[in-house]
Symmetry: C2
Subunit: 371 residues, 2 copies
């Protein structure tokens, strides 16, 4: 079961506020989804993730397919129960990781054979296998198995790949068994070619999915091209279904996504840069592990009221990074996840108050553009 | 300020229940103190440590002396504020680490020169330096600078070392400036030689410290010798002062410590073995990362009501270890700290109910002796 309710459209952009109803709760959109790749949002408990304002998390089919394997999670009673997260979960299809992480992959119409990035074992994923795995996981939103094509790529490559992704989407839809509890989203591909984006979107919309993702963006292309293709693509997506831009998590890309009609986005960025010692703050990125903070007894972000900023100084956090203590990764992960969930909450409120572009301008002036 | 109040003596052993009052709160004894070596109990926030029942934590002067340095912690307002732990803190003197971690050490009457285990830099610790550092840290209980002599060692070596430790204790006492807020404990040495233990204890007691530690035990000697020397030593310590056995954290050693008159103990064991994948449970140690648990959907310890045992299965914890997720270390650290704080609470209650030895027997029958 999945229902999208459009609550408010921005007057001068395609930004919109809505709600997605799932069997595990309601998601207020636009929403940023933290990533729990291997059935855990790195360094955090589920309760912490929830308390930071996260409404839905994403987990990765490719990783869970390899370890611990879908049969174990199914026996555990599904992914929610296995990992103790009782809110909504979205799983991707595994397609992206097959193309970005695995070795020796061979794509045929049937699916993809590849070598595991962990032990080199031979593996096979296809639309049917991906749906079977996601049915075992029991996530609330599941994704069609697609090819996330590289950038740059020729028109011929993208056309062929996109049409196969569309045929795979049809096979996913036909194979999906648990439609009452799990909503299957189609993924628009088509590279940086507008006519292919249009065809992909129209073919998928004709199949009537409960939601649509825009894939194959933020893969290395310049930002203006990303924005242009995104803006063009969302015009072909129905207003009464949620729209998800995959793999985006810097503040400026989130603003662009929302401005051009996106409701959902995900990225490992906030937790990954946290573990590398970097905080997103109201005045831009802060390299918290930098030695220059060793006697800085102010908080990471004076405009932030997260647990980390309320209780710890830069000097302490820098010390923890300097001695490789796990609490360092936790404190920055907490801060960065909170920063993005708060940003999306502010964006929602700005849309509701018809001041989305003003808020974007204010934020950019304070944050700068270094991301 | 430190006050010890004896509440109840066991009828058939030297076990006793008491309270230690410090400026940062009251400690119910016997107590196990988790270790926060580098100003953090590994993997945990201070709030979590407190919620697990920890009443006081230990932090290491040697490590904080080298990184970030006492001047930074002093500028931060002291260790409590720096690390956001507002309960009592005990710091050791650095002596133990100088002898166990550093290289090229040279002991003279003045103190110890050594090479840092981090960068090989030349360093110097002495009674005065150790007290200066601990005064900067502002911990509630500070320890005299001592030599923790090796085992085995000759009578001549131990006699010389113990007498120097006693002279160092006098210098620590003379140098200690912040007696209103920080209580300085003397450390009884003397190896496995009873007459030297007696002399050490008597000489220190004559100096009238607010508390006494027994050092130089659990350094490799057989358990029966440890128990014999401990039992002998505590007879020379005053009843109206707290007694601390350093570096002990297995359940059986904690039982023996309490049985022979000890009020306080510390060890890195529960958090260290947690990060290695081992849980202490009511039926003995469980190697949680073992592949045999991959489809075990029961909790770590069915008799435990900690956060980990209430919310996660062995299968999930084993998965987290298998993929090296930080939450694995957190969940086992939570469980192990809780296990020991709960054990000490049960021991306190057993003493109050005059059934300490019965409780010890019950526990041993369930736990086994593999520790």
């Amino acid at each position: 079961m999945l229902e999208y309710k459009l609550i408010k459209k921005s007057k001068d952009t395609k930004a919109r506020v809505g709600e997605i109803k799932t069997n595990h709760g309601i998601i207020k959109t636009p929403v940023f989804m933290p990533v729990g790749t291997r059935a855990t949002v790195k360094t955090m408990t589920p309760e912490e993730v929830k308390d930071l304002g996260a409404q839905i998390i994403l987990s990765n089919t490719y990783h869970l397919f390899l370890r611990p394997g879908p049969e174990i999670i199914e026996k555990a009673g599904g992914l929610h129960k296995f990992m103790n997260w009782h809110g909504p979960i979205l799983t991707d299809s595994g397609g992206f990781q097959v193309f970005s992480l695995s070795a020796n992959r061979k794509i045929t119409e049937e699916g993809v054979t590849f070598r595991s990035h962990i032990d080199g074992s031979k593996q096979f994923l296809s639309p049917e296998v991906s749906i079977d795995v996601q049915n075992s996981l029991g996530s609330d939103i599941i994704m069609a198995f697609d090819e996330c094509a590289p950038y740059p790529a020729t028109y011929e490559y993208i056309e062929h790949s996109m049409n196969r992704t569309t045929r795979w989407a049809k096979r996913c839809k036909d194979h999906h068994k648990n439609t009452d509890n799990q909503a299957l989203f189609g993924i628009v591909q088509g590279g940086m070619y507008k006519d292919l984006r249009k065809k992909s979107a129209e073919d998928l919309v004709a199949m009537d999915f409960p939601g649509y993702a825009v894939g194959g963006l933020s893969v290395g292309e310049p930002k203006d091209i990303m924005v242009d293709i995104l803006d063009y693509t969302t015009d072909f997506l129905p207003e009464d279904k949620p729209r998800y831009l995959m793999g985006v998590g810097t503040p400026d890309y989130l603003f662009e996504a929302v401005e051009h009609g996106i409701d959902m986005a995900d990225c490992v960025l906030p937790t990954r840069i946290a573990r590398n010692g970097t905080a997103m703050t109201s005045v831009g990125r802060v390299i918290a592990k930098n030695g220059k903070y060793k006697e800085d007894f102010t908080s990471l972000d004076e405009n932030c009221d997260c647990y980390t900023c309320k209780n710890y100084t830069k000097a302490y956090i820098r010390h923890l990074f300097n001695v490789n203590e796990i609490l360092a990764y936790r404190l920055l992960s907490i801060h960065n996840i909170y920063f993005l969930t708060k940003l999306m909450e502010n964006i929602r409120n700005a849309i509701l108050e018809d001041r989305f572009l003003e808020y974007k301008k204010e934020f950019y002036e304070s944050y700068g553009y270094e991301d």
